[in-house]
């Protein structure tokens, strides 16, 4: 059997949080020398290739979406659970009429559906946004929308990128960053610099682009 050209890295996920159908869905695939981002509308696919040699940085930013979804799914689950309990007949189940049985099944199904989604949201863990940076772009990777999933993907991607580019140790990163800041401070006048003193001296921080 011939080796597959692309291996799946993530399942397809919608670009927008509230998009369920007929919307662009994005997935990531690993190629021999590049990462392929596939955006599919269902009837067309667009491809973006990020070659391992060009990837400069991958950022994971934790977001609050996980908590929002817990609220959005937990509230109806709770409401329907209360309605199910409150409307349940007091008589034993054997004495329920056909309508009561049907009503019970419908309410239990709706409650179960929301509880299942709520539990799935908890199970997937904290949400995040993931960005990939090259020399000419910063691209969001919508399919990496959970921290655990992003870590798994990064664990697969990291050795492939390191195999092409080599590895940077922490001291090297720090010294190179400082050198760049020094050179920028010599040539530019900082405007609207970040107030945090833990990043660098105000005089050394480059301008913030808002």
């Amino acid at each position: 059997m011939p080796e597959k050209e692309y291996q799946r890295l993530t399942l397809a996920r919608s670009r927008s949080a509230f998009a369920f159908a007929f919307m662009s869905r994005s997935s990531l695939w690993l190629g021999k020398d590049h990462l392929l981002c596939v955006d599919s509308s269902g009837y067309t696919e667009t491809y973006k290739r990020f070659y391992f040699r060009d990837i400069q940085a991958i950022s994971i930013q934790r977001t609050d979406a996980h908590h929002w979804w817990s609220g959005i799914l937990g509230f109806p689950a709770f409401v329907f659970f209360i309605i199910t309990i409150a409307t349940a007949p007091k008589t034993p189940m054997a004495q329920w009429s056909g309508g009561q049985v049907a009503g019970g099944i419908i309410l239990c199904s709706i409650t179960g559906f929301f509880i299942m989604l709520f539990l799935m949201n908890l199970l997937f863990g904290p949400a995040c946004k993931c960005f990939l940076r090259t020399a000419v772009q910063v691209e969001e990777l919508p399919s990496l929308n959970r921290v655990r999933r992003a870590h798994k993907a990064l664990a697969r991607l990291h050795p492939l990128i390191v195999a092409v580019q080599g590895e940077l140790n922490l001291n090297e990163i720090s010294s190179r960053m400082q050198a760049i800041v020094r050179s920028l401070a010599d040539t530019t006048t900082p405007v609207n610099a970040v107030s945090s003193p833990s990043i660098a001296d105000r005089s050394q921080v480059p301008p913030v682009i808002s």
Binding site: Y6, S40, Y43, A57, A135, I173
Partner: protein
């Protein structure tokens, strides 16, 4: 993007150290959002500016096909024309002129330049399934689904999927619908004769 410094995705503050290549998420020093940033050597790599092509000095030198006043440095691997540094486009170890590159992209010959494909298998399958919700539509859509499946049987499918299972499913479903309609018409015709 020209500076090799990395910004916090949320507050856009320039990050210098402390959050890079950490095993877990750590706080952005400016806004406090949890971040993890993996940086690679490409971040610090110096990118050489593109070459403009050298001007021809001697008449005996070979010149670029597209720029007769520029010195040719190599030939196109696609058409063999001489190219200057400006026209030389390197792709996967081969050198092409802009015309060959454009033609290769248009004809789908250079796979790595393809950035869009139409999924005819999905179109055929959708035509065979969605109209089932309003069954009367299948009278029209089933033959169309069959046509699309057969017409684009050999068309390139998704880069990342290989099987023809959607075409097969579309054909089977469409044939079933066509057979159903044919049977209905035959039965109706017999009833009218009786």
């Amino acid at each position: 993007m020209s500076t090799p410094l990395v910004q916090c995705p949320k507050c856009q503050a320039w990050l210098l150290e402390g959050v890079f290549n950490q095993p877990e998420l750590s706080l952005c020093p400016a806004c406090g959002v949890l971040l993890q940033i993996e940086v690679f050597p490409a971040l610090f790599r110096h990118i050489n500016p593109g070459q403009g092509g050298e001007t021809l000095v001697l008449e005996s030198e070979s010149s670029c096909f597209y720029h007769p006043d520029k010195r040719a440095i190599r030939h196109c691997d696609g058409c063999g024309r001489f190219l200057c540094a400006l026209c030389d486009c390197e792709l996967q170890g081969k050198h092409f002129c802009p015309t060959c590159l454009e033609a290769g992209k248009a004809k789908g010959k250079i796979k790595n330049l393809e950035n869009q494909r139409t999924l005819y298998d999905n179109i055929a399958l959708s035509l065979a399934t969605y109209p089932l919700l309003i069954f009367y539509f299948t009278l029209v859509t089933a033959p169309v689904a069959l046509f699309v499946a057969i017409r684009y049987w050999n068309a390139p499918r998704s880069i990342v999927r290989r099987t023809k299972v959607r075409y097969i499913a579309a054909i089977v479903l469409a044939l079933t619908q066509v057979a159903g309609w044919s049977t209905l018409f035959v039965i109706l015709a017999r009833h009218q004769r009786l």
